[in-house]
C-alpha cells in the first residue's frame, strides 16, 4: 500500500514535531509513508472564509499530488473534513454554476482515500494499542470537524487508553468548540477568546498536565490561551503521544 502523509500547511510551517511524530509512528507500525513535497494547503481557510474560487486550484493541486497513493493520512481533523466533506461539495457547486463535471471528477478519487490519522490507525491498520508510552495525565478535546464531520467518535480515546503510563481524565464540556474556527478567531476575537478561556478553564479543572487533540490549529488557539492564562498545562498533538515510547520518549 502506498501511503502519503498530508501534513497540512499549518503543521509543515509551525508544527514539524507533529509531522516527525506521525512519520515515526507509522514507520513503527510497518507503514512506509511518503511526504510528497508538492503538497501545500487543502484550501480550507479560503473556502470557509467565502473564497471558494481561490480554494479550487488548491483542491486540484491536492488531487494531483496525492492521486497516485492508496491512502492519504493527515494529522488534522479539519483538513481531513475539508477533503472528505467539502471537496465533493465544491464539485457540486461548480456543476450547479455551469462549469461542468471537471472539478468534481478531478477531486473524486482522493476523497475516499483521505484519512485522519486516528481513523487510519483504527480503521485501516486495525490497531488501538500502538505500543506507546507516555507517563502523564492527559485530557482529550475532540475538535469539532473531527467529531461532527468525520465522526471520529471514540477512536482517539481508545488509542489514548491503550498508551502505557497514560492516565486519561474526562474533559468537562469536551464537545464544545474551543473557539478557534479559522478566521473566526480574527473576525470575532472577543467571542473566540471567551470560548477559548472557558475551554482552558475546563481543561485546568481536570488537573491534567496535558491537553491532547488531533488538530494543531485548535491547539494553537488553546495553547496560546493557556500560556496567557498561565495554567501550566501543555497542548500536545495526539500523534506525538502515540509516537512516544520508553526508548524514545516525547520531548
Amino acid at each position: 500500500m502506498r501511503v502519503a502523509l498530508f501534513l497540512t500547511c499549518v503543521n509543515d510551517t509551525l508544527y514539524p514535531d507533529t509531522g516527525r511524530a506521525a512519520v515515526r509512528l507509522l514507520n513503527r507500525l510497518g507503514v512506509d509513508v511518503d511526504f510528497p513535497v508538492g503538497q501545500t494547503c487543502c484550501g480550507q481557510a479560503h473556502y470557509n472564509t467565502g473564497y471558494r474560487h481561490e480554494a479550487e486550484p488548491l483542491a486540484r493541486r491536492y488531487a494531483e499530488v496525492f492521486g497516485g497513493y492508496d491512502a492519504i493520512v493527515t494529522p488534522s481533523g479539519s483538513c481531513g473534513a475539508m477533503v472528505r466533506e467539502l471537496y465533493p461539495r465544491m464539485g457540486e457547486r461548480a456543476r450547479a454554476e455551469g462549469y461542468g463535471d471537471t472539478l468534481a471528477a478531478t477531486l473524486a478519487p482522493v476523497v475516499p482515500k483521505t484519512y485522519e490519522l486516528t481513523e487510519f490507525l483504527v480503521d485501516v491498520l486495525g490497531v488501538t494499542d500502538v505500543g506507546a508510552y507516555y507517563p502523564h495525565t492527559v485530557t482529550y478535546h475532540p475538535t469539532c470537524h473531527g467529531l461532527r464531520v468525520l465522526g471520529l467518535g471514540d477512536r482517539p480515546r481508545r488509542l489514548l487508553r491503550a498508551v502505557k503510563g497514560l492516565e486519561l481524565v474526562e474533559l468537562p464540556g469536551a464537545e464544545e468548540c474551543c473557539g478557534f474556527g479559522g478566521t473566526f478567531a480574527l473576525k470575532n476575537p472577543e467571542v473566540s477568546a471567551a470560548m477559548g478561556a472557558d475551554k482552558v478553564r475546563n481543561a485546568a479543572s481536570t488537573g491534567a498536565e496535558v491537553l491532547c487533540a488531533a488538530d494543531n490549529s485548535c491547539l494553537m488557539h488553546i495553547g496560546g490561551t493557556m500560556t496567557r492564562l498561565r495554567t501550566g498545562m501543555r497542548p500536545v498533538h495526539i500523534a506525538e503521544i502515540l509516537a512516544s515510547t520508553e526508548e524514545e520518549p516525547a520531548a
Partner: protein, 498 residues
C-alpha cells in the same frame, strides 16, 4: 424587520459588550446548560429520532419545491372553512392589513400570542401608530414588552433576564399597563408566573380581537396549529370574536398526517418535553357540524407573509433555511450565542438560524447582515441538533461567499447583481496571495525558511489586524526548520519541489 433593530452595529462590536457582561453571561450559561441536557434526554427517548428528522426534512423540502401549489390549496381550504385569506408581500403590507382589520372591528386593543412573524414585521409598533394597543401575553414576551426591551431568543425572548431582573420589571412596570404586580412579589418562578396570570387575566376576558402566528398550516385541510405551554395561546385563539393569524408562507405542510412528525420533533427540540402542555388546532371558523353553540372566533383572517421568503427560496443552497420550525435547539447549543447573547444578532432571529435567516430575508447590504455569516466558528453543533437537518454551516459559508464575492441574488423577486461587500479588500488580497504561494511549493518553502531564520526577532504581540489574535493568545513559536526541510534532509528529495 422590527424597527428596533435598525442601525445595529456589526456582530463583533455588538458581541464585545455582551461577552464582558458577567450577569448576561451567567444568565445565558445557566439557561442554555439546563435546556441542553434536557433536550438530549428527550431526544434519546425516541429510538427513531434520525428517521423522524429525515422525514421532517423531506416533508419541508417537498413542500418548498411545490410551494405555489400548496399555497393555493391552503387558501382554498381555509376559505371553504369560513376563513378569509390575505397575502402580504412585505412587512408593511402585512401590518397595514392587520391594522385595517382591527380598525374594522372598532376595537382599539388586541391580545397577542407569541409570534415570530409579527415580531419580524414590527406589528406592535405599526399598530401603536394607528392608535391600537397590542398586549403580548406570552410570559417572556410580556417581560420584554414591559421592560421596553428587545427579544434575544426565539423560544424564550427574555432568556437574557434572570428571575431577580424579571421581578424588578414586574414591580415597576405592570401598573403602567394594567393590574400592578402583587405586593411583596418574590422572585420565585411560581410567584412570577402567578403575577403574570393575574395581570393578563382581565385582558384575556375582555379581548375582542386576538392576533397569532402559527407553527404549521395544513394545506389539504386548511388547519392551523399553535404549539404553546402557558395557555395564553388558547386564550387568544378561543375567547376573542375575531382572530387574525399572520404566518410565513413556508409554514405549510401538505397533509394532516405530516403533523405526526413535527408534533414529535418540535416539543423535544424546543422545550425538551415529550409534549408541550397545549396544542391548538383549528380550521377556519371551526364550526362543528351539529354543535349547538359556536366554538371560538366567529371571524378568522389568515395573512400569508412573504417578506423575503421567496427571495430566500430562490437561492439553491440557502433555501434550506426555510425548513426551520423555530424550535431554538440551535441557539441552545451554540457556543457563540451563549457568549454573545441574542441582541448582538440584530434581528428577531438570533443564533445560528438567525445568522443564515436574517441575511437572506433582509439581504446582506447592511453592516450587521454582512457580518452575521461570520458569527460562527463552524463547529457544527447547530446542524447536529436541528430537527429538520438544516446544514447551517453550509449556508453560513455560502453566505460568506455572497458577502466577499458578490454575485446574482434575488431581491424583492427580481434578480440583481450584488457587488462584493466593502471592508474585505485586505482579506481578499491576503487570500489571493496565500493561494498564489500555496500554488508554488517553492515559494511556500522560501517563506517558511525566512520565518524560521528570523524567528528570534518575532514580536510576542502583533500590531494592526494581528492584534485580534495576540490580545488574548500567545503566538506559537516558529520552529528552527519547517517539516519539509527536515524531510528533504533526512529522506532525500524523491520528487523535488515543483
Amino acid at each position: 424587520m422590527s424597527g428596533t433593530f435598525v442601525g445595529m452595529p456589526a456582530f463583533p462590536e455588538a458581541a464585545r459588550e455582551a461577552v464582558h457582561d458577567t450577569t448576561l453571561r451567567g444568565n445565558l450559561r445557566h439557561a442554555t446548560a439546563t435546556i441542553r441536557a434536557k433536550r438530549a434526554k428527550a431526544v434519546a427517548e425516541v429510538a427513531d429520532w434520525a428517521a423522524l428528522r429525515e422525514a421532517g426534512k423531506q416533508i419541508k423540502d417537498h413542500t418548498l419545491r411545490h410551494l405555489d401549489r400548496y399555497l393555493v390549496q391552503l387558501e382554498e381550504a381555509v376559505t371553504a372553512a369560513g376563513g378569509t385569506v390575505h397575502w402580504a408581500a412585505d412587512a408593511d403590507e402585512a401590518n397595514r392589513i392587520v391594522a385595517d382589520l382591527v380598525k374594522a372591528t372598532g376595537e382599539s386593543e388586541v391580545v397577542k400570542v407569541k409570534s415570530m412573524a409579527t415580531q419580524e414585521t414590527g406589528l406592535n409598533e405599526a399598530l401603536e401608530a394607528e392608535g391600537i394597543r397590542a398586549y403580548e401575553t406570552d410570559l417572556a414576551e410580556l417581560i420584554v414588552q414591559l421592560g421596553k426591551d428587545r427579544p434575544s431568543h426565539i423560544l424564550v425572548p427574555a432568556i437574557h433576564r434572570n428571575r431577580g431582573e424579571i421581578r424588578d420589571i414586574f414591580r415597576s412596570e405592570m401598573g403602567e399597563w394594567g393590574r400592578p404586580a402583587p405586593d411583596g412579589l418574590t422572585d420565585t418562578p411560581a410567584a412570577l408566573a402567578e403575577a403574570a396570570r393575574l395581570h393578563l387575566r382581565e385582558k384575556f376576558l375582555r379581548a375582542k380581537v386576538g392576533i397569532s402566528g402559527a407553527n404549521f398550516m395544513v394545506a389539504e385541510t386548511g388547519t392551523l396549529v399553535v404549539v404553546e405551554s402557558e395557555g395564553n395561546g388558547r386564550m387568544c385563539l378561543t375567547l376573542p370574536e375575531t382572530l387574525i393569524s399572520v404566518v410565513g408562507i413556508e409554514k405549510i405542510v401538505p397533509t394532516w398526517r405530516d403533523l405526526e412528525v413535527f408534533l414529535q420533533t418540535l416539543p423535544r427540540s424546543s422545550t425538551a418535553e415529550r409534549m408541550n402542555p397545549y396544542t391548538s388546532m383549528w380550521t377556519g371558523t371551526s364550526d362543528v357540524d351539529g354543535a349547538a353553540t359556536a366554538d371560538g372566533p366567529r371571524t378568522f383572517h389568515l395573512v400569508l407573509l412573504d417578506n423575503g421568503r421567496t427571495d430566500t427560496l430562490a437561492d439553491e443552497v440557502g433555501r434550506q433555511a426555510l425548513r426551520c420550525i423555530r424550535c431554538s435547539a440551535c441557539l441552545n447549543v451554540c457556543p457563540v450565542y451563549e457568549r454573545a447573547g441574542g441582541h448582538a444578532y440584530g434581528s428577531v432571529y438570533p443564533g445560528p438560524i438567525g445568522a443564515i435567516l436574517s441575511p437572506q430575508l433582509r439581504g446582506t447590504r447592511s453592516e450587521i447582515d454582512a457580518s452575521l455569516p461570520y458569527a460562527s466558528s463552524l463547529c457544527g453543533a447547530c446542524y447536529e441538533v436541528c430537527p429538520v437537518a438544516i446544514d447551517i454551516p453550509e449556508v453560513l459559508v455560502h453566505l460568506r461567499e455572497r458577502v466577499v464575492q458578490g454575485g446574482v441574488v434575488t431581491e424583492r423577486g427580481a434578480k440583481v447583481l450584488l457587488k462584493p461587500a466593502k471592508g474585505h479588500a485586505a482579506e481578499r488580497a491576503a487570500m489571493r496571495a496565500a493561494r498564489w504561494a500555496f500554488g508554488r511549493p517553492g515559494a511556500l518553502r522560501a517563506g517558511q525558511r525566512l520565518a524560521s531564520r528570523t524567528r528570534r526577532f518575532h514580536p510576542r504581540t502583533l500590531p494592526g489586524p494581528g492584534k485580534a489574535w495576540s490580545a488574548s493568545r500567545e503566538l506559537p513559536p516558529v520552529p528552527a526548520e519547517p517539516f519539509r526541510d527536515w524531510w528533504q534532509r533526512t529522506h532525500g528529495g524523491k520528487d523535488g519541489a515543483k
